[in-house]
Amino acid sequence: MPRLPRSEWYDLTRDMNWDLSYITEDEAFPPQLSNSFGVPAHDWWAWDEPYKITYSEYVHNQAGKDAGVYSVNNVLNRSDIWDNLEPGWRAAVIAHYGAIAVAEYQAGIGEARMARFGRAAAWRNMATFGTLDETRHGQLQTYIPYQALAKEPKFDWAHKAYHTNEWGVIAARHLFDDMFLANDAVSMAIQLTFTFETGFTNLQFLGMAADAMKAGDFDFGALISSIQTDEARHAQQGEPTIKVLTKAGKADVAQDLLDRMFWRAWKLFALLTGFSMDYYTPLENRTHSFKEFMDEFINKQFIDQFRDFGLEKPWYWDQLLNEMNWTHHAYHLGVYFWRPTVWWNPVAGVGPAEREWLEEKYPGWNASFGKYWDTMGQNVRDGHPELTLPETFPVVCNSCQLPVCTPAGYAAGYLESPLPYVVEYNGRKYTFCSEPCKWVFEMQPETFAGHLSIIDRLLSGWIQPPDIPGALAYMGLSPEECGVDGTDYDWAGPVPPATKSA
């Protein structure tokens, strides 16, 4: 039987747009859930996705994708691959599941909002697929760690993390609430699907997939690269949304939404992907440095895409290039030092060969960040590992919720001042790690001012007793769950036997 080419019937089956007569536009599309930015209703109907797929094609593809991932998992789950992976790689995978799995379900809520409040039928259709995609990602990334719990109890955090007040999770929640859970459909198309998914998820889901295959973790590599094939499709909700806004003379709106979320996404990936690639991935398995992946996926691929829509680099581009040299090194140092506060076992990743690699990829590393590790290594070799553990708390940024590392950036020669940025708003002082983080806050102070960072909560008496054990309990970390050095201090060289755990 002859079949019509898809292009001859696709628009007809997709475009269920209609004029409202019983209710007003604002009743059907409340601005809080779908900000039109003043673009008339009919202009949104020009929304046309560049990446077209029908429901039957979608179901066929997705069934095949799942069959692939689950069959790899089914085979490998019976093997001892996990036990034989390097401690650093295991740390990267455990950190990934906690930071990402439940956030995928939350992204599904965001997609579902666009599936209802997107301003064109074509868009709602794409977002329906996106909702199913994100549900799939949530299921895969809770199922796979769940069935490996017997091998790795820390996989419990794949589900648990977002139900705690662990500091990294507070940071992730602050970001994701802003990006999708509390965002309107139009802003979300630019901030979640375009900025975050077209841009940054490639780092964690493709960059890490390359490292996974080299590290021998085919299960994880198959999983995250399969997830990224969904992202590549539903991320395309950004392009037509930008086109509609630009055609209506609102390119500045799109640029502003991009600028705000681009910086926020950078901070999270500088933390999670930064230490995963440059410290946790075993040296012999690294394909590129984090900075090189940023250059490939963000500074070339993503920049080319958004400039093609008439948008420009964010105003803080020089600050981004500056931070790419040092911020994730400072974050890694902090995560290692405050390791009891995370759900994975951080590795230092600074043995002699690793340091040589870091110096090559980040000239000056040894003379700057290397010095901190020299001191910690000496303390461990002297039999005083307790000196490499925290007794106090860092200052946390009131925008990204991550530690303020300006002193480290200053000491490494990248900043002109070690001081944080400070804003007074409604009688309260807020502290920021960078000019763009301060700017993000100042653009919407009424949105962010009420949020208390983990340190604000400590100072406000929410955390009792107000010390490290009290904070660990507040963050949902029992003594058995607190992170310890993933290699038992092997990186420091010969250490006294008493330093080693039993």
């Binding site: 080419p5 898809r6 292009s7 560049p50 990446y51 077209k52 797929i53 029908t54 094609e57 066929h60 593809n61 095949g64 994708k65 692939g68 490639n202 889901f205 493709l206 890490m208 997939a209 390359a210 490292d211 996974a212 295959m213 080299k214 590599g221 198959a222 690269s225 399969s226 990224q228 094939t229 992202e231 590549a232 499709r233 395309q236 392009e239 394909t287 070339k300 691929q301 080319d304 895409q305 400039r307 093609d308 008439g310």
Partner: protein, 99 residues
């Protein structure tokens, strides 16, 4: 900003060797006048050409030795450089802005 040739094209997962190979072959066939750059990172393979990259269903089927709908590349298509336009018989990755 310096003008340089922007590379565009698919980023394919490294999980299906035969499809990845077929896409490379097909893209070489469909873009005869340019060098096709293949950057194989194991976990992903970046296949790019300068400015515009065409992939036709006919070339892909030839290279693969079996019939295939273009939407069926999605399970291996983890990303792409440039913008992407999907038709019945061809996919094009492209960029318009030259600076």
């Amino acid at each position: 900003m310096t003008t340089q040739t922007k590379m565009v094209g698919p980023v394919v997962r490294g999980m299906d060797a035969s499809l990845a190979e077929a896409m490379i072959t097909a893209i070489e066939t469909d873009n005869p006048d340019v060098d096709v750059d293949v950057d194989d990172q194991g976990g992903y393979i970046r296949i790019t050409t300068p400015g515009r990259c065409l992939l036709t269903r006919a070339s892909l089927e030839d290279a693969l030795g079996k019939s295939m709908q273009l939407h069926q590349i999605e399970p291996q298509l983890a990303g792409f450089a440039g913008r992407m336009l999907v038709g019945d018989e061809e996919v094009v990755w492209y960029l318009e802005r030259e600076d």
